[in-house]
Amino acid sequence: MELVTTILIDGLIDASWIFIVAVGLTLIFGVLNILNIAHGNFYAIGAYAAANAVGIYYSGSEAYPPMLGLVAMTVAALAVAVVLGPLLERGLLRFFYHRDEIVLVLVTYALFLILEDATKLIWGVNPYYAYEPYSLFGTVSIGKLDYVGYDFFLIGLAVVIGILLWLGLNRTRSGKVVLAVIHDREMSSAAGVNVTKIFVISFTIGVFLAALGGAFTAPKISVQPGLAVMVVLFSFAVAVIGGLGSIEGAAIASLIVGIARALAIHLAPWAELFIVYLAMALMLAVRPQGIFSPTALRKI
């Protein structure tokens, strides 16, 4: 029984940060039809920026309230998004919209290569630590096990983000316009939607979500080169399993991936690495459009 609880909680914690990042990827695909291989880089840059912010914030005088460090991290992620989002969408990606969808994948791959090195050039190769926020929420005891409160905060954050996104898309006018663009870009444009504006905003939100995921994961890990490479794969897996472009799908898929990994780690460590790709491959083989699919299927 305890094992089940452990697996569920570990899975949930994992699912949280994965969801925050992957939902950004799926949103970008849904709106702009771009499979963003550079998504992991936004996560990494968010993590580095947050590490910087945390470093600055907590080295100040003791008078700063520790909890507001979280705000500093959010601001860092926001800064990353506001700078990189419009810059990359307007300054690079839009020149390839008229070409085959695979070309955009190649462009984001080239962007991944460039940003990998750019990150190293800006922040160096040594690890950064942003551990201060990790102790903000103390410890939580469940049964015989102690968990770090911060991890539960992450779960809460993921839930809040999920709800806000869902409400934003389904209950606001601009959100419904975005949904319309996801479902049918041409019709939306013909109906007078300013698709360009939607593109820039959606891409920026996607970047923000990735950066936010990175920022709030930073306190748990050592922020160093190599983050982007692994994160992008997990986001891919989640987005594909959930259905590219579906927010609800990303939520469920994150749970599946998080719990699958937890299961593997505890019960079958040899499968830890490939269980996620197995799930992804199985989904593609059996139901390529994913759990929920707002976009059209591209299988013959």
Binding site: F95, E101, I102, L106, A110, V125, V229, A271, A281, I300
Partner: protein, 320 residues
């Protein structure tokens, strides 16, 4: 389209130049040419897939299968002859190709790319946890031999490998060039252009794509085997998606029209890598990214497009 005779003449000249270079160039640079040959062979396989209209992000699967096939044959089977090892690598990869092609042949575009990536990462994950295969550290290999000849020194070993690679590359290049110029080669391009029309002419698109994919697997395995014996080491990184990404880089830079362009692009990749690791270790990926963007923007048919297009346009006539 060149005549067969011209292709063979060009091949002979290229081989002669390569052999001559081998006498003149320092050991480090002929080693670089060997690794470029290995990667180039795998990238050439990817080009075959691209010629039928698809992009694979999992060519590393076959590169890795070939490497492990050759490596394990050497370590467990005691075979050290380069020719046998490279052939074995190709065959092992071919088997993986035969296994995966039926599943993959009904996918297109992004779904095909992601599925190939997932399969490749599956192999990576499986190998990393397979301790009896070396786990994430991989395995070290012995020195290879050629037709019973064992190299007396490190420099001689590299030289022997270089001569072998040169012959291998030229043979494969000739075969591919002749294939590109053949009816079957045209059929690949036709499939890429318009699958519906191909079906309505009576040919199976699935068959075209599968055959190309399986041939690509073989070439990936041959490249992987060559790389394994050149570097003397195999590990799961060979199947990691960034390895596949390098083949994508080469294929995009070279385009799918010229065989020579593929190896030229592969050499360029190796040059950038080794130059950068000496002087700008944290900028070589950025250079690749910039090259790729430039290629996508300005050379939609890659470097090869510059060479081949000129020839095809030579005999244009205005209609009367």
């Amino acid at each position: 389209m060149r005549s067969r005779f011209m292709v063979l003449v060009l091949a002979g000249v290229t081989l002669a130049i390569l052999v001559a270079l081998g006498e003149v160039l320092p050991s480090w640079s002929i080693f670089l040419l060997v690794t470029a040959a290995a990667k180039g062979l795998a990238a050439l396989g990817l080009v075959l897939v691209v010629r039928s209209g698809l992009l694979s992000f999992g060519q590393g699967l076959f590169y890795c299968a070939g490497g492990y096939g050759a490596g394990l044959l050497m370590l467990w089977g005691g075979i050290t002859d380069m020719t046998l090892l490279v052939l074995a690598g190709g065959v092992v990869a071919l088997l993986f190709g035969l296994l995966t092609a039926p599943l993959l042949a009904s996918y297109r575009g992004i779904f095909f790319a992601t599925l190939t990536l997932a399969l490749s990462m599956l192999m990576h994950g499986a190998l990393t946890k397979a301790d009896f295969l070396g786990g994430s550290d991989g395995l070290n290999l012995h020195s290879p031999t050629l037709f019973g000849m064992r190299p007396a020194s490190a420099a001689e070993a590299v030289y022997m490998l270089y001569l072998f690679s040169s012959v291998l590359v030229v043979v494969v290049a000739v075969a591919c060039r002749l294939h590109f110029d053949s009816l079957r080669g045209l059929l690949s391009l036709a499939t890429r252009d318009n699958e519906i029309r191909v079906e309505y002419l009576g040919a199976s698109v699935s068959r075209v794509i599968s055959e190309n994919f399986i041939a690509a697997a073989f070439l990936g395995g041959v490249g992987g085997a060559l790389n394994a014996i050149a570097v003397g080491h195999i590990d799961p990184e060979l199947a990691f998606w960034t390895t596949s990404g390098e083949f994508v880089f080469v294929a995009i830079l070279s385009g799918y029209l010229s065989v020579g362009a593929v190896f030229a692009s592969s050499i360029l990749l190796e040059l950038i890598r080794s130059f950068s690791s000496q002087y700008f270790p944290n900028a070589w990926q950025m250079s690749l990214g910039i090259f790729m963007l430039a290629s996508i923007l300005f050379l939609p048919n890659g470097i090869g497009g510059l060479i081949v297009r000129r020839k095809e346009r030579d005999s244009e006539k205005d209609p009367a």
